[in-house]
């Protein structure tokens, strides 16, 4: 089983631009990419639809992390997932170049909130993405109780088309 993540170059540029905006007190910004899904054989296609920034007021002051979402940020994303029947992928950036990776803190926080999405919207995968300035890495979950999986390949749909391996096949 594998997953391919597809996003248009225009949407990815919109995400990068938003995440680069300074926040009044948080060190970095976070947001959500909603996805539709499809399948072919043993591959799930996670197809990006839109981007939702986390509102300024939905961050919590916390100097121990780059950005801490409050419960309202997660509630709004859960609501979008339920209403629009989409998968929700938390997204933030580490900057730099090349294939990025999640920090231990990222992994700990993701494990807290992503299963809630699977509980509410079990028809579609949910997960998290971390960006660099020229790449993406990500995890997705197949069920509320399962361990995360690594997204195996990314496709940026633009001129030219770009694709890269995200992890293990």
């Amino acid at each position: 089983m594998k997953a391919h993540f597809k996003i248009t170059g225009a949407l990815l540029a919109e995400v990068r631009k938003d995440l680069a905006r300074p926040h009044p007190f948080a060190f970095e910004r976070v947001g959500w990419i909603s996805v539709g899904a499809s399948q072919s054989g043993d591959c799930i296609y996670l197809i990006a639809r839109s981007y939702q920034p986390v509102a300024d007021d939905d961050y919590l002051p916390d100097d121990s992390v780059g950005a801490m979402m409050g419960p309202e940020a997660i509630r709004k994303a859960l609501q979008s997932s339920r209403k629009e029947r989409v998968g929700m992928f938390h997204v933030h950036t580490h900057g730099g170049e090349g294939l990025p990776g999640f920090s231990g803190l990222d992994l700990r926080e993701m494990a807290k909130f992503v299963p809630n999405f699977l509980q509410l919207s079990p028809r579609i995968p949910h997960g998290a993405l971390v960006l660099s300035n020229d790449s993406i890495f990500g995890h997705y979950w197949l069920s509320e109780k399962s361990k995360f999986q690594i997204i195996s390949e990314f496709f940026e749909i633009g001129m030219p088309l770009k694709k890269w391996k995200g992890g293990y096949e």
Binding site: T8, L11, G36, S38, Q39, I47, P125, I157, M159
Partner: protein, 272 residues
């Protein structure tokens, strides 16, 4: 020296990029057969060929790769295309569907680019809609020969690159409700339409150029929406006026919020 040395300007890793790409060719007649031949020469590694027909003697004026020996017994067009690719590509990944593209949806999802060389507007619209839902660039080529009475004949055609989020075939005015209705009314009585090898070749070559632009960054900032008109009488390919007018428009007909398969159910996928 690589046998692709003469196209090395496409990029230092272009051999790998091209071999790693998969092109879906829907319709393997006059236009599609040129596409297959050229993508094979380029070294494209993945080929999905879809066509329900077998070769007929009236195809031999333009079906590239087809020979008179293929007429008896008549070979499926997908077999002719596959033979052409196997003769030119090392370790090709070929899937041949001797049927409707509607039976090959899962295979089409794996394509980097889909190219439609089909006769019908209904097929064009459905194929483009499928491509949009899966964020796959779609290239449409088509031509017609019109009898203009005492003035002879007029050959015209188009090449359109339909990129997700960018103007579509409806935005271009190629697909209209009137055309779809008219075509639906003529169902089963379309008859054969004039087609010629050189015009198909011009359209297909231009489309293959767009495929190469999509796969390799061999020049900076190529247009990401293409709408070209072919004038077969003058022998010209020129940008349609809408290519400039619509360049920065977002397509209203295929909203990005429609991507994916609305019937997908992760629980069923996991339980397979």
């Amino acid at each position: 020296m690589s046998r692709y040395d003469r196209q090395s300007f496409l990029g230092k890793d272009s051999d790998d990029v091209l071999h790693g790409a998969t092109i879906g060719a829907v319709g393997l007649g006059g236009g599609g057969s040129h596409i297959v031949q050229q993508t094979a020469h380029l070294g494209i590694g993945g080929h999905l060929h879809i066509d329900p027909d077998i070769i007929a003697d009236t195809n031999t004026n333009r079906l590239v790769g087809g020979t008179l020996k293929d007429l008896d017994p008549a070979l499926p067009k997908v077999n002719i295309a596959e033979r052409m690719v196997r003769g030119l590509v090392d370790n090709p990944r070929i899937k041949s569907i001797n049927g409707s593209w509607h039976t090959a949806l899962n295979d089409l999802k794996t394509c980097d680019v889909i190219i439609g060389a089909v006769d019908s507007y209904i097929e064009r619209e459905q194929l483009e809609r499928f491509a949009r839902r899966h964020l796959i660039p779609y290239i449409d080529i088509g031509m017609d020969v019109h009898d203009i009475g005492a003035n002879g004949f007029l050959i015209g055609g188009q090449i359109i690159l339909s990129m997700p989020g960018k103007p579509c075939l409806r935005c271009c005015g190629l697909i209209t409700n009137e055309r779809l209705t008219q075509e639906a009314g003529k169902y089963g009585a379309a008859g054969s339409r004039p087609q010629v090898v050189w015009s198909n070749g011009v359209l297909a070559s231009t489309a293959v150029g767009i495929i190469v632009q999509l796969l390799t960054a061999w020049f900076i900032n190529p247009p990401n929406f293409v709408f070209l008109d072919y004038d077969g009488n003058l022998g010209t390919v020129t940008p349609n006026a809408r290519m400039k007018l619509l360049a920065n428009k977002i397509c209203p007909h295929h909203p990005i919020t429609e991507v994916g398969d609305s019937l997908f159910d992760l629980r069923k996928f996991v339980a397979r």
